[in-house]
């Protein structure tokens, strides 16, 4: 590697870091505003117009806050945990392209790299849970391991389906392969699997069991404050952005679809805008899910991964393989995909029967129950026979 190349990568990495940090600030603001919209409120309004400067105020506050270490904490593990979570979140972006040429280093096995690195983030959560010397953090860390490892399988299998379609693990080639038809249309089942497993990987509603506020009070992050807590949040939001970006790249045609005019710098700029627009739409969908769903319980979460998503992922691969082997049209896969998705939904939503069947509460009217006449105290002479004394002033309690 020449010095020039080194300089290029160094600058690129720095630029990426700045870009991602900026994105996280936008995301925090956007999430608060989007949730507020769902929840009949305004969200941040005070700092800057419509609270646009709120993220900056948040960063300033977090950086200047006291950073507390619990006295019982395993100090090294405790301090390393945020880095262990943040590093993979950043490293993934080495090979994620935002436009054809807008990528630090396009790898032939890009998808493989992304999956391999993102798995490492489990370590950070476990370390935080263990190092905090707190039972809630420990429970949260263990929940994170269980959930993340389980959902890794459908996640990888969904990615595999895409790799099969494009016969490549190179993300740029996958995007190019969608020039005529996006994979969301070819493989809707794959998108469903990827998005759901991705949400679980992120630990977002309805899979947010590892930092469930009402149960484990923040889970692994419960003992963190200040800059270290900020590092966790940074990692979480970068991961959210990553999953949304991957959804766009693998299923919605990345920066391509529909094709952008021009060539060179203009083309790259337009591609970037197109890519970011799509990504933010996916992110808004993720926020929307957060605003409307309750949380799953850990056993239900596991059951959903192993009994629903993993079999569906295998079905997805099987169908893709069949269609590719017999060289059928892409629309065959679309239909098969939609059919299996419909079957899965039918099974999931049919569990509690129809609305009438699940209605176990019956309203009995007062007539059915036989309403007796009410008992109301009657005026009775005082027991000792003396007249009840009444004040002359308008009678009131005092």
């Amino acid at each position: 590697m020449t010095a020039l190349e080194g300089l290029f990568y160094g600058l690129g990495a720095a630029g990426l870091l700045v870009f991602l940090s900026g994105t996280v600030m936008v995301l925090t603001w956007l999430e608060r505003k989007a949730l507020a919209r769902i929840q009949l409120r305004m969200g941040p309004m005070r700092v800057g117009p419509h609270g646009t400067l709120q993220p900056i105020a948040d960063v300033a506050k977090l950086m200047t806050k006291e950073d507390i270490t619990p006295s019982w904490a395993d100090k090294r593990v405790f301090w390393l945990a945020p880095a262990a979570l943040l590093m993979p979140a950043l490293l993934v972006w080495v090979t994620i392209p935002m436009a054809r040429d807008l990528v630090l280093r396009n790898l032939d096995m890009g998808l493989f790299y992304v999956i391999a690195v993102s798995v490492l983030s489990v370590m950070g959560l476990v370390m935080a849970g263990w190092g905090s010397a707190n039972k809630y953090a420990m429970l949260g860390g263990l929940r994170a391991v269980g959930a993340l490892i389980s959902y890794e399988i459908p996640f990888i299998l969904a990615v595999l389906g895409v790799a099969m379609l494009s016969q490549s693990m190179d993300i740029t080639r996958i995007v190019d392969d969608q020039r005529s038809i996006a994979y969301i249309i070819v493989q809707p089942l794959g998108l469903f699997l990827f998005l759901v497993a991705g949400l679980a990987e992120l630990g977002r509603t309805p899979f947010d069991i590892h930092h469930a506020e009402s149960e484990v009070v923040g889970g692994p992050f419960v003992e963190y404050s200040g800059a270290h807590w900020a590092a966790f949040m940074l990692a979480e939001y970068i991961n959210t952005f990553t999953v949304a970006a991957l959804v766009v790249l693998l299923f919605v045609g990345g920066w391509r679809w529909p094709a952008m005019p021009g060539d060179g710098a203009l083309h790259t700029l337009l591609s970037l805008i197109w890519f970011l627009t799509k990504t933010y739409f996916v992110i808004l969908a993720i926020f929307w899910i957060r605003g409307t769903f309750p949380r799953l319980r850990i056993d239900q979460l596991m059951a959903f991964a192993w009994k629903v998503l993993v079999p569906l992922a295998f079905v997805n691969i099987l169908l893709t393989g069949l269609v590719l082997y017999y060289d059928l049209g892409w629309w065959v896969l679309t239909i098969l995909s939609l059919l299996s998705l419909a079957a899965a939904f039918y099974i999931i939503f049919g569990r509690y029967g129809s609305r009438a069947e699940r209605m176990t509460v019956r309203v009995y009217s007062t007539r059915e129950l036989g309403l007796k006449p009410a008992v109301r105290p009657q005026a009775a002479p005082p027991p000792d026979g003396s007249p009840v004394q009444v004040d002359k002033a308008p009678a009131a309690g005092a």
Binding site: V216, P294, A374, P377, P382, G397
Partner: protein
Amino acid sequence: MMLNLGPQHPSTHGVFRLVLWLDGERIVRAEPHIGYLHRGSEKLCEREDYTQIITLFDRLDYVANLNGELAFCMAAEKLMGLEVPDRAWYVRSILCELNRIASHMLFYGVYGLDTGAMTPILYGFRERERIVLLFEAVTGARMMHNFIRVGGVKQDLPEDFVQRVNKLTDELKRGIEECDQLLTNSELFLARTKGVGSIDGPTARDYGCTGPVLRASGVKEDVRVSEPYGIYDRFEFGIPVGSNGDCWDRYYIRVEEMRQSLSIIEQAVKQMEPGPIQAKVRRIARPPKGEAYVRTESPRGDFAVFLVSDGGDKPYRVKVRAPSFANLQSITHMLRDAYIADAVVILGSIDIILGEVDR
């Protein structure tokens, strides 16, 4: 592993401590600890006169203040043999039913949080806010009204009350349906609440459960029907009764009760006529020597007051039978073989108010 859930924990609904012995995520044994909010209210009653005690009853069930006030005033009225004017009863009933809706709306919102959904609480609070604003217009306070008096109510309703309450019932009707749609049939909510924390009717009765917790288990028991007080015999309304005794039944009974309360309010507003609002009572009330036990249906269940008077201007003894306290006892039964996440959902479904549990 032993885990202290509370007293500082966001979903214990106050300062309640639940000690859990865990096997992984499963609860092996659960031990509730109460008393963190004990203020000695019952003892305090013994050195206050009858009008001053009303403020203490505001602070027992601080989500349904008027229902608490009503129970105490009814006990004193029973002792004194007071005939409360009709209009006073209509005012009381309307306000208490509104308070029931406000209380259930709070439950609805908080229950959403317990199951992990963050939006319901804002919808619940929007509806509750409408009611609280009407309370402010009528009683002068959003909470802690100190409005119901021995023998009547503090003052007559404002002139535009009927219009306001009619507008409010229309808004609430829409609000309740919205809330119902947001949470009740959500697939994940069903997964979290159906079949969780089941308790059968006889067991619930043995634990002394009342109100929605008992009715969810299929027992048709509501003080307003089984032992009607005031003017509840003049209304036609429904008592929702569940069959599984699980969290979903307890939740849905409350949603349905809000609808029934609205119907009571509408009937009451139609029947209400002008008239006196206060029976004649001495300025310093001195009930004759004796005892009185009065049951009322508060949003949480059978809220009863046992009042002993020695003929003086202060009661000799006041005992409150708090529904939350009795309902809370059943939690050890419900928590058998539950998960940690269920513990939160089950505790939420009992809908305890610690001010009433600890007194």
